[in-house]
Symmetry: C2
Subunit: 230 residues, 2 copies
DNA sequence: CTCATGTCGATACACTGTATTGCTCGTATA
DNA sequence: TATACGAGCAATACAGTGTATCGACATGAG
């Protein structure tokens, strides 16, 4: 029985951990969207059988949770500026940028409570920015309001971006982009305000739109933090 | 060959239209969530073969679009109050109520542009509320900001509601509700601001939280509509 | 060397969205 | 009245999904 007759010893399965799994899932989602993430495909990228992943996650939804938490790490800023306004703005912007890097994030944002370590850290950072500026309840309202705003704004931005892409890369020509349907609807005269907005409105890029709205919301928060004394 | 020997003539398929299809899909989603909506199940509820639906929609995503548009009809208020603030508040509240009736709406809100007739009508109503109060661009920013807020807020509310429900109907006991994990994390001392918020914060019901944030955002909009004269 | 343990791969199941195919039946024409 | 046509439908099929179950097998302990 020479070496040539004996088969090589069975290769041990490549070591695995959540980090690797999540990384593979994120890679798949980054190009192909959330629906490109299937247990089988993730496993294949790791040279593993599909069922093996279920030692690390117990359901596919948990995988999504891990993906979101992983991306939250990208959002955490290194240093917190002293100015609460600046701190909040940075957090919002970084969330937006993360969503632009990982468009699938828009599908998940706000969909489930973020209780992972990084998610909690982001919440902590947000709350910490208000430290000492108001009572706990006001701070809670402020955090909720600001984050509700930017989650909604990010979702819409990504949704529009995809819609534009789907209608063949037309840049900012709303009506032609979304095809004859909207044009026809507007022509019915049943939507005068909308028609005016579409035809007379200035095309403003998504970033400034986001920043403007954010600024408004921060103004609102500021007004509540330092209530105008009688 | 008596009547008794002859089989009844083959029953003509029950007539179908988008309205019926969408209604069936909504019924399924209302109890069971979006994932309970499958082409086969919708068709079965209508005594039809699955493939028949593809005469009315060309993809499942289109079915979702129709569902959203259908629910938007519930949002449209009958009469528009003259006060823009009141008008916006009503639109936001009605959207929230619709989402509470149809929780799956939270999963779809903001996910795609709403170009259906009812969706356009809602946008029209929103824009119309600002008629004559500011230039087109300011109005656009205002509409975007307010709707971004309430979409984000509704999503979070539904997400929390589901999370609570999943952890066994515990009412407002955040830490106990989400199990030992959060408690343990808070005990690490790495999230002081969060811990303070959880332990010292007042439990406020979702509706007032929503209304409060909405009010703040509306304040911000108001400030931009009537800029303080020098 | 043997045995227990825990992990993995294979297999299986119920189900998904949708393309294709050919039948069937109501209608229009000859 | 007989025939051809064409639309709308059901049936079938396919590739893929998430996940339960189970048998084998390598690894560590005794």
């Amino acid at each position: 029985m020479t070496v040539w007759d004996r088969p090589e010893p069975p290769t041990r399965p490549v070591p695995l951990d959540r980090e690797r799994i999540v990384a593979a899932a994120i890679a798949l989602a980054d190009e192909g969207g959330l629906e490109a993430v299937s247990v089988r495909k993730v496993a294949a990228h790791l040279d593993a059988g599909p069922m093996r992943l279920y030692r690390y996650i117990s359901t596919k939804e948990e995988l999504f949770d891990l993906m979101v938490d992983e991306v939250q790490a990208e959002i955490l800023p290194g240093e917190q500026p002293g100015d609460w306004r600046e701190a909040l703005r940075i957090l919002a912007q970084r969330t937006r940028e993360a969503a632009l890097r990982h468009e699938w994030l828009a599908d998940l944002l706000g969909g489930r409570p973020t209780l992972g370590p990084n998610g909690l850290a982001v919440t902590e950072a947000t709350l910490a920015a208000f430290d000492g500026l108001a009572d706990v309840d006001t701070v809670m309202r402020a955090v909720e309001t600001v984050s509700a705003y930017f989650i909604g704004a990010i979702r819409r931005e990504i949704a529009n971006l995809r819609a534009e892409r789907a209608t063949g890369l037309s840049k900012h020509d709303w009506q032609r982009a979304h095809g004859p349907h909207v044009t026809r609807m507007l022509a019915t005269g049943r939507f005068p305000a909308l028609a005016k907005a579409v035809y007379d409105g200035t095309d403003v890029d998504a970033e400034t739109s986001f920043a403007t709205g954010l600024d408004w919301v921060l103004n609102a928060v500021a007004a509540k933090l330092t209530p105008t004394p009688t």
